[in-house]
């Protein structure tokens, strides 16, 4: 067994144990975002897809590289965006309804400033 393989195996086993330890602590409330976050993380396979390009020089190679790149990049981008979208919904307190008017009159926020600037012109 080569040293490289041994190193790889060691890393794999340790990462597995770390994963079990870290993920065991995630509360059930967050299991869906967790799964979608790990979804995004396995999108790291995009690195593998890109590296196909280093040696690809035939039609078959290019096709495989293309399909792998489409799959993996959809996985990465989609995974992170949807996880972010979900996590944004988890709030400690119910949000107070905020009428649009408030941001225009209150001087806070870019939109308020812009609206004000527009009015003074």
């Amino acid at each position: 067994m080569s040293t490289a393989l041994l190193t790889d195996l060691t890393i794999f086993i340790l990462a597995l144990l770390v994963g079990i330890e870290v993920i065991g602590k995630v509360p059930a409330t967050l299991h869906t975002p967790l799964m979608s976050a790990t979804n995004a993380i396995h999108g790291i396979v995009l690195v593998g897809a890109l590296l196909i390009g280093v040696t690809a020089h035939t039609v078959v190679g290019y096709i495989l590289a293309f399909v792998a790149a489409v799959f993996a990049s959809a996985n990465v981008v989609g995974g992170y965006v949807v996880t972010g979208r979900m996590l944004k919904m988890f709030r400690r307190k119910a949000p107070e309804p905020q009428p649009e008017l408030e941001s225009a009159n209150g001087h806070k926020g870019l939109r308020g400033i812009l609206t004000k600037a527009g009015k003074t012109q």
Binding site: A28, I44, V45, G84, M89
Partner: protein
């Protein structure tokens, strides 16, 4: 390993560390968003390092760059569009789809590795490892299996278990062909052999998921998630990349933990679920039939009185709530009760919804604050103090029959709804749940049945409570 490649590998180690830290931050809703951003940072630096490496190598052809850039842009656009537009009720399908493409990409990495080595002078024999074969096998099974799972969840493919004569025999045959082809590849360099392996694995993935019923999907998705992680880790072995190995192992661990949690919550073994054929699917069609004489039916006004004069209400949401798109209506009713000073909380069974934690996301979307979402072990002791348990679209997970041996759901952990002082069940009809069992809760003298569609019921109840307290 040259010095330069060593530095790149170091960046991958940093990426792996950021993934771990990111997942660690997911242990609380307050820090979870930061966790996602930390993991994203890890991903971005890994991709930058990879691009630097590719430029440094200088062997990527112009066509190669064009193909990769076009592929990445198209993939990113698809990912971005679906992630932005997907309904929260459709999250399980989306996660399944991402499992599918992740597994597919991992398989392609190994397939290309094999193809490339085969065309070289030294041949492929010395370099074909157990990892190449496992990557192709697991990746392909995940790819096709997840497509079927997503199809079932989306409704393209019927949700009920699809069994046909000889199905299990065919499965066995496919497994034998796949393993046989894999073994053959170790002794003979053969692209057709690889193709046979891929096709058998793809067919096996389809055949594996078809017989599994709709409500077992939380387990299936978790399992396929674990498969994808494993496939990506195997791809890491194939190309000697630590970031892939660590990321794959993390996802594999996560998927396995969730698979076990889900199977435990249904009190069924993984083998039993995979063999399939259980349950009635997730048909939400009302099953007719006369209302039993022992069942007490109730109107909106009476239910509203019970709710409005309670001091503690526990809401028990199930898949029926999501199917009727009633989560916003529930949240509105709960807000109204809270404004009256009534203590409201939500009892979430681990398998409520179609994937782990699904119900929490649906309620969070309806602006329910997460401290009100209680896990089963946390909420069960509280039912005895509750004046009203309001069950909406949940069935089997409230059935006291689970406490007795000798039936379909014996031993399944349930929500102790029958401990509450009174129970209101919102349901369209007396139809059975997934397990096809009568729910004994409905015949309990404390229970009143409110027969209506969940969404309509919530609107009526809210209106009735408003009239009552006005």
């Amino acid at each position: 390993m040259s010095g330069f490649e060593g530095y790149i590998q170091l960046v991958y180690v940093l990426t792996a560390a950021l993934f771990v830290v990111g997942l660690h931050l997911m242990n609380s809703p307050a820090t979870a968003r930061r966790g996602n951003q930390v993991a994203l940072t890890g991903m971005v630096i890994a991709l930058i390092a990879t691009l630097v490496l590719m430029i440094h190598e200088g062997t990527v052809t112009a066509t190669g760059w064009a193909v990769l850039i076009a592929g990445s842009l198209i993939g990113s656009a698809i990912g971005l569009y679906t992630a932005r537009t997907v309904q929260m009720t459709a999250m399980p399908q989306l996660v399944s789809a991402f499992n599918s493409v992740g597994g597919g990409a991992a398989a392609l990495v190994a397939i290309y590795g094999y193809y490339d080595a085969e065309s070289r002078v030294g041949g492929v024999l010395g370099t074909t490892t157990v990892f190449t074969v496992l990557d192709v096998l697991i990746g392909s099974v995940t790819f096709s299996g997840s497509i079927i799972a997503a199809g079932k969840l989306q409704g393209f493919i019927p949700g009920q278990p699809l069994l046909f004569k000889g199905g299990r025999l065919l499965n066995m045959a496919l497994a034998v062909v796949a393993v046989g082809a894999a073994a053959f590849l170790f002794s003979t360099a053969s692209l057709p052999g690889l193709l046979v392996l891929v096709l058998a694995a793809l067919a096996f993935g389809v055949m594996m998921v078809l017989p599994i019923g709709g409500a077992d999907m939380p387990v299936v998705i978790s399992l396929l998630n674990a498969f994808t992680g494993t496939a990506v880790a195997m791809a890491g072995f194939v190309i000697g990349n630590w970031a892939l190995i660590v990321a794959g192992a993390l996802v594999g661990a996560s998927g396995s933990i969730l698979t076990k949690l889900m199977a435990d919550a249904m009190n069924r073994s993984l083998a039993n679920i995979i063999v399939g054929g259980f349950g009635t699917g997730d048909s939400t069609a009302a099953i007719g039939g006369p209302v039993d004489a022992h069942v007490r039916s109730i109107a909106a006004d009476d239910a509203a009185i019970q709710l409005a004069y309670a001091s503690k209400v526990i809401i028990v949401p199930g898949y029926g709530l999501a199917a009727a798109q009633a989560q916003h209506g529930v949240a509105e009713l709960a807000k109204l009760l809270e404004d009256r000073g009534i203590e409201v909380s939500y009892a979430i069974h681990p398998v409520a919804g179609r994937m782990p934690g699904h119900m929490n996301v649906l309620l969070a979307e309806a602006n329910v604050p997460y401290p009100l979402l209680k896990e089963m072990d946390e909420i069960n002791p509280e039912f005895a103090r509750a004046d009203v348990a309001l069950v909406i679209g949940a069935n089997d997970v409230t059935n006291p029959a689970a406490r007795r041996p000798g039936n379909e759901i014996s031993g399944m952990p349930i929500l102790d709804v029958d401990q509450a002082k009174s129970v209101i069940v919102v349901k369209r009809s007396m139809g059975h749940g997934y397990a096809g069992l009568d729910n004994e809760l409905y015949y309990n003298p404390k229970t009143s049945m409110y027969f209506a569609d969940a969404k309509k019921a919530m609107a009526e109840l809210t209106a009735a409570v408003k009239t009552l307290v006005a």
